[in-house]
């Protein structure tokens, strides 16, 4: 049997259902960025370590560079572009700005997705829980100090 090299997927991205023909080898992150032009989700490594590509996938966190787009058939995906609605920032997004939790902004989308998932599960996390929740997201600018502060503030 010949290997499958492409296929049609149906995914829901930020609430919108999309049908798309994808190469079987297409990474989910490249599908989001290059095919759907949702460039808020970033790529920072080749190995699943950095978390810049973090999305919420069927309600749980996933690193979209560690999934193939074709695996996502039927999935519901949330990206950073889906957080605010009608240009209104969420409390968490406001807190990131208020507390200077971002400098270059490259890790920020992944951080926001991890923090969003945390706060959905746990509206009053401890500092330790916050640090655990973003342990999969590398930031090279902030030393995490203000990111932790921002998430604390958003939880209040």
């Amino acid at each position: 049997m010949d290997p499958v090299t492409s296929g049609r997927i149906t995914v829901t991205v930020n609430g919108e259902e999309i049908e798309y023909d994808v190469d079987a080898r297409r990474l989910l992150v490249h599908f989001l960025r290059d095919d759907l032009d949702l460039t808020g989700t970033h790529v920072g490594c080749d190995t699943g370590n950095c978390g810049a590509c973090t999305v919420i996938y069927n309600g749980v966190l996933a690193k979209s560079c560690m999934l193939l787009a074709i695996q996502a058939d039927g999935a519901s995906i949330e990206t950073v572009e889906g957080l605010s609605s009608d240009g209104e920032l969420t409390k968490l997004q406001h807190a990131f700005s208020d507390h200077h939790a971002l400098q270059c902004g490259y890790c920020t989308p992944g951080m926001l997705m991890s923090a969003t998932a945390l706060l959905r599960d746990n509206s009053a996390p401890t500092e330790e829980q916050i640090r655990k929740a973003i342990q999969g997201n590398i930031c090279r600018c902030t030393g995490y100090v203000n990111i932790v502060e921002a998430i604390k503030a958003a939880a209040k």
Binding site: R25, T39, L102, G105, Y106, T142, G143
Partner: protein
């Protein structure tokens, strides 16, 4: 006509803060970035663009016998290839900054006939998708003949194996710096402390966004547009244009948002030239995004430096008299920005200390490792680590208090501005006071009790200090101390501020922001001068060399934005303020001195009712200028200012002169606990005190302090680019190269001082690099903690747990004290 400029409200200690400078206004950059609406280079797409993948060397050192791209070209969707042979025909080698032997090194965009480090690009393939380009690269057949490999600086110095045959030597640059009277210092000393060896390890800041570019070539004009993340386009163009045999203006660098750079995006010219050649050859836009593994393997490491035969003449009371050292700097396979690191350290020759007699024998060599590039704290960090290790080891060996030894030897606040033995001028600062603040933050008075408590838990407590300088705003004249033929000196940066037709205030910068909040701080400065709010000021994000707001040294590097970038913004805004006043004065028939700017209007000081809104001023000049008197018609409301710091040429003979304008200072203190059974240690308390003069935006300053501390702690504890004997990098990705994660960071306390710089337009100093204080503090704390376990010498800058276990298992002492 003489210009009278308004001044922004500069905050001095004790003064009420009136303006926006000195306050943490909301960052303009944030709204787009928290919504994923930033534009990083990899977000930019063009119709029909091809994706570039580099074929890279698996060998650290080898001859290239042949390259066959035919199978790659047969693959459907492959647009074309480029090899080193073509590059050697189409381009000239990049110019080298060094004198001989380094001057004769030939460095091209792709390897030509020989590879000198693992990961060196030997060919490039362009295809219709990222995946296909990678597949096609696999089909390129390269035949190599491996050569012997050199992986340390000392090996390179002593070897018959020569990396660059054109140069005939592995040495890039060598020189002796000798200031004061070292022999006299030895004669005066009670002791000479000798340290056999110290080694500053290789690491880099590894920005989360890798390097890359999208290049479009305009066949009609011969002009390349590069949407990328090069952080120093001024110098980038100076390298690239001659190599490409074109003019500087044919190279347009564009960036909006950059995902961190830290110096690691200064030396992208080889890859950029390869992409420019491909865009021209294939007549289509080409896009290259570096893979993380490629960034670690083959882009930009920090300088690795070995210090040998260190001697410190010292008085019995701990007064430091001098320092003598032999330094071997390993710059990897190609010098690129080097040998500038052979002089940049001299900006901080005495560190924070008053010793006057310093001799440094400095040699830089090539090895079969990744090339280096400036890396946060560039070259000064290595030297400051040396001075801090030395001061600490002297204190420990002479059984003196490290706090007292530092205070005895620190340059004092009342001595500022202080001229160093090599002619640099420390502008302001109070290191002893900063140390006191840091000590208070960690409860130093209770140190003995903390030690007893740690011992009761079978832990070794260590206390350490790292005191550093973050020198900012280079005098590029220092390059002439390395190579007298170089025609570089001073520094410059540009900004434009204009008032547009509907009254919009628009700023462009020559700098290349990567997260430092330039849009925000520029808006603060402009707002204070024009008497509006930062929200009224649009600062175009990023950099575009076609904005006409760039000069030869434009870029973001070397801790200088608050001086050069904001100096340019202030100059341009002052000019615009004056032009607005002239227009209003022309309309009202008064002099500019009779006009004030307030509430978005130019109005008569004597009668606030007589006012023209900025919109009116913009409209008059841009669309209704016949109403203006003749003598005001030169007004453009589009003001450009080049900030030039007040530098002189250094003295080449004496290697003497002011090499940099400002000296932000940092004092960090660290408390850690080691488990003596395993070598595992934990930082239990940590304080960082920063003094960068007037703080334009305190929150941004704090953020820089946090980030620099995190990077230094990573470098102190885990981050190392280690190689095996065959020149393979053992830490080529974030699995093996462990940067701090959220749970790794210790509790961090911060304090600050504001010693305004007397030399800068706003009293601010460049800051952000941080001088690696965390590395020094951790090393000192380990030294202290291990004192009861055979006093091993903490001789490396990176001390992972296994290294500490080595110290415990076999306490090797590399220090001896000789009484005079």
């Amino acid at each position: 006509m003489t210009e009278t400029a308004t001044h922004p409200i500069v905050v001095t200690p004790g003064e009420t803060k009136v303006g926006f400078v000195g306050t943490s206004v909301p960052r303009k950059e944030d709204k787009r970035l928290v919504q994923g609406e930033g534009v990083f280079f990899d977000d930019v797409k063009r119709h029909g663009m091809g994706y570039v993948h580099f074929v890279r060397s698996p060998y650290a050192h080898a001859k290239i016998l042949s390259i066959d791209v035919s199978k790659a070209l047969e693959l459907g969707g492959v647009y074309g290839t480029l090899t080193g042979e073509e590059v050697a025909i189409l381009t000239d080698p990049f110019f080298e900054l060094s004198v001989k032997p380094g001057a004769d090194i030939k460095d091209y965009a792709l390897a030509v006939r020989r590879v000198r480090h693992v990961g060196e690009p030997v060919a490039a393939v362009v295809a219709s998708s990222r995946e296909l380009a990678r597949d096609a690269a696999e089909l390129v057949e390269v035949e190599y003949e491996p050569l012997p490999v050199l992986t340390t600086g000392e090996q390179s110095l002593g070897s018959d194996v020569i990396l660059h045959e054109d140069a005939g030597s592995n040495v890039v640059w060598q020189g002796v710096f000798d200031w004061g009277d070292y022999e006299g210092a030895v004669a005066e000393a009670d002791h000479v402390v000798r340290i056999e060896r110290l080694h500053f390890d290789r690491f880099s800041s590894t920005p989360l966004e890798c390097a890359g570019v999208l290049v479009e070539y305009n066949r009609g004009t011969g002009q390349w547009t590069m949407y990328g993340n090069h952080q120093m386009p001024g110098i980038g163009a100076i390298w690239m244009a001659p190599a490409l045999r074109t003019g500087v203006d044919k190279l347009r660098f564009v960036s909006q948002d950059i995902g961190g750079a830290f110096g690691n995006k200064i030396c992208l010219h080889p890859q950029y030239v390869a992409c420019c050649l491909l865009a021209r050859k294939l007549n289509r836009p080409v896009q290259w995004t570096e893979w993380r593994t490629d960034q670690h393997t083959a882009n930009a490491h920090g300088n690795e430096r070995t210090f040998l035969d260190i001697e410190v003449p010292v008085k019995a009371d701990g007064t430091l008299l001098g320092l003598s050292v032999r330094a071997i700097d390993d710059c990897g396979a190609y010098p690129r920005y080097e040998p500038l690191g052979c002089i940049i350290w001299a900006q901080v020759t005495p560190g924070c200390y008053r010793w006057r007699n310093i001799r440094v024998d400095f040699t830089q060599v090539c090895t079969n490792k990744s090339p280096v590039s400036p890396n946060r704290g560039y070259s000064r960090m290595q030297h400051l680590w040396l001075t801090e290790r030395v001061v600490d080891l002297v204190a420990h060996e002479l059984e003196l208090d490290p706090v007292e030894v530092r205070k005895r030897n620190y340059v004092r606040a009342e001595e500022m501005p202080y001229e160093t033995p090599n002619g640099c001028v420390y502008d302001s600062g109070d290191y002893a006071r900063a140390l006191d603040i840091a000590l208070e933050l960690i409860g130093y008075d209770d140190l003995d009790a903390k030690r007893v408590d740690a011992e009761s838990r079978r832990k070794l407590l260590g206390f350490g200090i790292g005191s550093t300088l973050d020198s900012g705003t280079n005098n590029f004249g220092q390059s002439t101390l390395l190579n007298p033929e170089l025609q570089f000196s001073g520094n410059n940066e540009v900004a434009t501020v204009k008032l547009d037709i509907f009254g919009e205030i628009v700023v462009t910068l020559g700098t290349v922001p990567q997260g430092q909040g330039h849009e925000t701080t520029a808006a603060q400065v402009v707002a204070d001068i024009l008497n509006v709010t930062p929200e009224d000021v649009t600062v175009r994000p990023g950099h575009d060399t076609y904005w006409n707001s760039n000069a030869g040294f434009s870029g973001t590097y070397a801790s200088q934005f608050a001086v050069t970038g904001l100096g340019a913004v202030k100059g341009a805004a002052d000019k615009l303020a004056y032009e607005i006043k002239r227009v209003a004065a022309g309309v009202f028939g008064v002099t500019p001195d009779d006009i004030e700017l307030a509430e978005g209007q130019a109005r008569l000081k004597a009668n606030a009712e007589a006012a023209i809104p900025f919109m009116g001023i913009g409209a008059i000049v841009n669309a209704n200028n016949a109403v203006l008197p003749e003598d005001v018609r030169d007004v453009t409301l589009n003001c450009r200012y080049v900030y030039v710091p007040p530098f002189q040429l250094p003295d080449k003979e004496r290697k003497f002169g002011n090499l940099t304008l400002t000296y932000a200072s940092q004092v960090h203190v660290c408390l850690l606990e080691i488990d003596p059974e395993t070598g595992v240690y934990e930082i239990v308390d940590y304080a960082a005190v920063d003094d960068c003069g007037t703080r334009i935006h305190p929150q941004i300053v704090d953020g820089q302090v946090h980030g620099a501390t995190a990077q230094a702690l990573g470098a102190a504890t885990h981050e190392i680019f280690a190689y095996d004997e065959e020149g393979n990098l053992l830490t080529p990705n974030f699995y093996d190269y462990h940067v701090p994660h959220a749970l790794d960071m210790p509790p961090l306390k911060t304090g600050y001082l504001e010693s305004a710089s007397p030399f800068t337009p706003l009293g601010a100093k460049g800051m952000g690099e941080g001088g690696g204080a965390g590395i020094h503090a951790v090393c000192a704390a380990l030294q202290d903690a291990l004192a009861s376990h055979g006093k091993p010498t903490v001789w490396r800058s990176c001390n992972p747990y296994h290294q500490v276990w080595e110290y415990l298992r076999e306490p090797k002492r590399l220090v001896e004290v000789k009484a005079q």
